[in-house]
Symmetry: C2
Subunit: 99 residues, 2 copies
């Protein structure tokens, strides 16, 4: 890859993306979604502490397009938005586990 100079919008979007993941609860949510979609109820149960805290973090992750939501009856299921996010998160996890 040649010496990489980022334009302003790209540098800002990238900083925003990493910023969206710079919170332990959000990290836990994304981790819980690594194997596939999970209902909001199950996320609350697994991660806690409250539905309102999880919903708040889900909104933030959705605004940054890291996750997507799907309604089914009265349940909402959350999934990772795309493969890039999954791979990004896995690389981060490898670094965190080896540092």
């Amino acid at each position: 890859m040649p010496n990489l100079t980022l334009d302003d919008p790209t540098a800002n979007r990238l900083a925003d993306l990493f910023s969206a993941l710079s919170d332990p609860t959000r990290v836990r949510i994304v981790a819980a979604l690594m194997e596939g979609e999970v209902s909001v109820g199950d996320l609350v149960q697994q991660i806690g502490p409250t539905k309102s805290a999880i919903s708040h973090q889900l909104r933030g992750l959705k605004d940054k397009r890291l996750i997507r939501a799907r309604k089914q009856g009265r349940q909402v299921f959350i999934a990772i938005a795309d493969e890039h996010v999954t791979e990004l998160f896995q690389k981060g996890l490898e670094h965190a586990r080896h540092s």
Copy 2:
């Protein structure tokens, strides 16, 4: 990957890692290092605005072990710490460019 539950230290380290990259200047520094090590002087020239601003961000990136520094004579060369960081950054860039 099974449903992934992170312990506290791992979730915190991972949030810290993403936090270290949640700034446009830091993102630009890491981008500039994608092809290999670069002297601090060249980073200042490429990214600016001042040596002191770049040095400040380099310290932050080094504290989080995202980069390493090597002295040679009067120059300091900066490089990405390991392959995980390179791959993490590339995945982030792909996401930022497609969103």
